[in-house]
Each structure stands twice: as structure tokens, then as C-alpha cells.
């Protein structure tokens, strides 16, 4: 379970998160929508301790993420993250990309890590591309490698930061299908996304962020068809 309490975060003078309270239950898929600059991506970076916070707290399975005593390298093994830029390691093959963290962080043997990587890549439909370097893969394939790479650490949670927005339109589907598959398998996920239709299909709840606040959170049906906030209604009418 991820529990966020009164989270505040600024970049220099700009406050991007103005007191967020949010709980994500195990097995839940939560989508976060909102216009650019609403703080939704920053929220993900804070959950993974990739950004420090100003005040408030984030608990992941009861562990305080920003407590100085917390071993973030250990905590991050629980939380997989997929970025807008695919961020494949350019000097490693697909299989080596996936095997690196299991080998170096979990201290698996090279053989076990490579076997695990092959299984994870097959799982996302890339069993044929084990030896390909990123430069030889399409954006959609690179993003699926990035998903496999995160899954290889056997995380309890997956965070997706606009995972499809850097992709050519014809490649969005394959990545969304992979995310759908994970949702079906019961993975707890937080998706920051601009794809409202995808969010409606896959999510248990959708949160709407507006200028650093969580304006509204509800089931997809309620939030999209009966938005309680005028900001939500305005945003939805703009993106459709």
C-alpha cells in the first residue's frame, strides 16, 4: 500500500505539489490525469525518492520513503518505474539491459540473471530481440524492454510516467497492451497519462490533478461522465 500524506514539493520558488493526500491499495490501478505542470509526474518521482520532498510523508508498505534511515536502493527494488523517455542503456543489449539490476543489485549469477531477462522479455513479447541493441529497436520495443527491465526486479508497484507519450501513434497500442496485461495480472500501478480512453479502460480509479492539488478522485465512470469539479470538466472537454 502507498500512503501519501499532505505532500508538498517545490522547485526553487515554484510549488508544484501543494498538499497531496492519496492512498493506493494493493492490486489497484490508479491513473493520474491533468494538464502539463499540474505536478503529476513529480508525484511519481517523489514516490520513488528520485526527488526530495519539502514536507509531508510517503509510506510504501509502511516504510517512510524520505526518512534518512531508509535504504532507498532497497526500497526502489519494490517500485518499478517506466519513463516517458525509454531510457534503455545504449551500450547494452535488450537482455543485458534487463539482467543488469538483478545481477548487480540482487547479486544473482550472470546465468540466472540472463535467464530471468530472457523470460521477462518473452513476457512482453520480445523473445526474438534478446541480442538487439536499443538503436536497432523501435520506440515501442524499447519501452517494452524498459517495462521488462523494471519487472525483472519483481517490484510490488509499477509507476508509469507518460509511458506512451513519446511514441509514434502506431506504436502506442503495443505498449498499452503490455500495461493492460500487467493490470490483469494484479500489479499495483500508478499511471500518469494523457490517454483518457486508456485510463478509463484500465483503471480502478482516476485522479485529476490541477495546479499542484488533487482536485478530484473517483471511479473512471464517475469522474469522466460526472466530473464534480469544473476544472475536471473543462480539462476533459479540452482533451476530447
Amino acid at each position: 500500500m502507498i500512503e501519501i500524506k499532505n505532500l508538498k514539493k517545490s522547485f526553487d520558488d515554484l510549488q508544484v505539489l501543494k498538499g497531496i493526500d492519496l492512498t493506493v491499495n494493493n492490486g489497484e490501478v490508479l491513473s493520474v490525469i491533468g494538464s502539463s505542470g499540474s505536478g503529476k509526474s513529480t508525484l511519481l518521482y517523489c514516490i520513488n525518492a528520485l526527488e526530495p520532498i519539502d514536507s509531508g510523508s510517503i509510506l510504501v508498505d509502511g516504510t517512510s520513503v524520505h526518512d534518512k534511515a531508509t535504504d532507498v536502493n532497497k526500497l526502489r527494488q519494490k517500485i518499478g518505474m517506466v519513463f516517458q523517455q525509454f531510457n534503455m542503456f545504449p551500450h547494452l543489449t535488450a537482455q543485458e539491459n534487463v539482467a543488469l539490476a538483478p545481477r548487480k543489485v540482487k547479486k544473482m549469477s550472470k546465468k540466472d540473471a540472463m535467464d530471468l531477462a530472457a523470460r521477462q522479455l518473452e513476457h512482453v513479447g520480445l523473445g526474438e530481440k534478446l541480442d538487439s541493441y536499443p538503436s536497432a529497436l523501435s520506440g515501442g520495443q524499447q519501452q517494452r524492454v524498459a517495462i521488462a527491465r523494471a519487472l525483472a526486479m519483481e517490484p510490488s508497484y509499477m509507476l508509469f510516467d507518460e509511458a506512451t507519450s513519446a511514441l509514434d501513434p502506431e506504436l502506442v497500442g503495443e505498449v498499452e497492451d503490455t500495461m493492460r496485461m500487467l493490470a490483469k495480472e494484479g500489479m499495483t500501478m500508478i499511471l500518469v497519462t494523457h490517454e483518457i480512453n486508456f485510463a478509463r479502460d484500465v483503471s480502478d480509479r482516476i485522479a485529476f490533478f490541477h495546479q499542484g492539488r488533487m482536485e478530484e478522485i473517483n471511479t473512471p465512470e464517475q469522474l469522466i461522465n460526472h466530473p464534480a469539479s469544473e476544472h475536471t470538466a473543462k480539462f476533459l472537454s479540452n482533451v476530447r
Partner: protein, 218 residues
Amino acid sequence: MAIDVFSELQPKDLLFLGEAALRTLEISLTAIGIGSVFGVVFGWMMSEGNRFITFIINAILDIFRSVPLIIQLILFDSFISIAGYPLPAFVSGTIVLSVYTAALVANVARGGVEAVPASLRKASRSLGLSYWQDLRYIVWPVGLRAVFPSWIGVALSVVKDSALVSVIGYVELLKASQILITRTQDTFVILTIAGLFYFALSYPISKASDYIERRWNQ
């Protein structure tokens, strides 16, 4: 019967030049090796450290980059002699050449580390890699490969610049050539041969770098 103070170039002189070329290679490779290790560390400190550290390191390295190498060699060699700790020419030459190499490599390495996108490093940290693991397995392999051609450029210029170590009495290729020229007065032939030796030392380095780059780009 007149005594001839000059004598013809002999086959054994070629061997003499060859040995001197090996000494050029030895001092160059030693300086490139030591200088590159320190250069990478300085480059990393400049790219990661705070502005004050960057400023200090940069200012110090600027001295070594801007004062001509020949002056550095003579000053250092004279200084340690005056101070009462004279060193063999190879050692003091290697020290000065290594510091000079480090100063050049530091900027190259800094550029390499800074060429690695912040988001790539976030991705590796998000997998649970520690700062040092990220540096070891991602930042240096990716960043230093990006600046590999510049590093080769530095290495090749160090091979040539090592000729200046002759001024403190180290008998490398240039010094050996001068010795032979004094004896034979055959300037043109000897310098041509010395030039060919320098080329023979540098050409494999640049060929090897082409080959390595092609392999990485596959």
C-alpha cells in the same frame, strides 16, 4: 691523414633509433595511463561537485593546460634538483607528462559524464542501483564512449609531445635523433626516419580506435 670527426650513418644506428622509439612509447603510454585515471577522476569531480570544487580544479588544471609543456618540464626538473631530490629523467618526465595529460583528459571526461542524460541515470537509480553502481555500469561506459574520439586525440598528442622530455635529458626518439645528427650531420635522413617512427607509433592507435568505435556503433 685527416681525422674525420663525423661518421656515416650505420645499420646499428637504426637499432639505436628503434630503442629510442620504444622509450618514447614507454613514457607516452605510462603518462597516458596515469594521466587518464586522474583525468577521469578530476572530470567526474567537476561534473558532480559543487561550483567551488569545480572552480578550484579547473583553475589548477588551466595552469597545466596553458603553460607550455617545455617550460613545465624544465621548471619541475630544475626545482626538484635545487630542492635536493633529483629524479631520473624518465621519472620526472613521466610526472610532468602525466599531470599534463590529466589536465587535458579531465575536460574530456567531464564532457562525457555530462553527456549522459539525467533521465538515464534516474532510470538506473530507479532499479535500485547505488550511486557508485550507476557511475560504474552506466555513466562511465556511456559517457566515456561518447568522448572516446577526443580521448584518442589527447593520447596521440601526448605521444608527440613526449618529444619535449628530451630537454631534460631523457633519450627518447627525438633526443636520439639529435645525437645521431650531431655525429653524422645527416639531418634530413635521420629526421625522416624519426618521423616514420612517430607515425608507426601513432597509426596503430588511431586504427585501433576506428575499429573500437565501429564495434560500439553496431
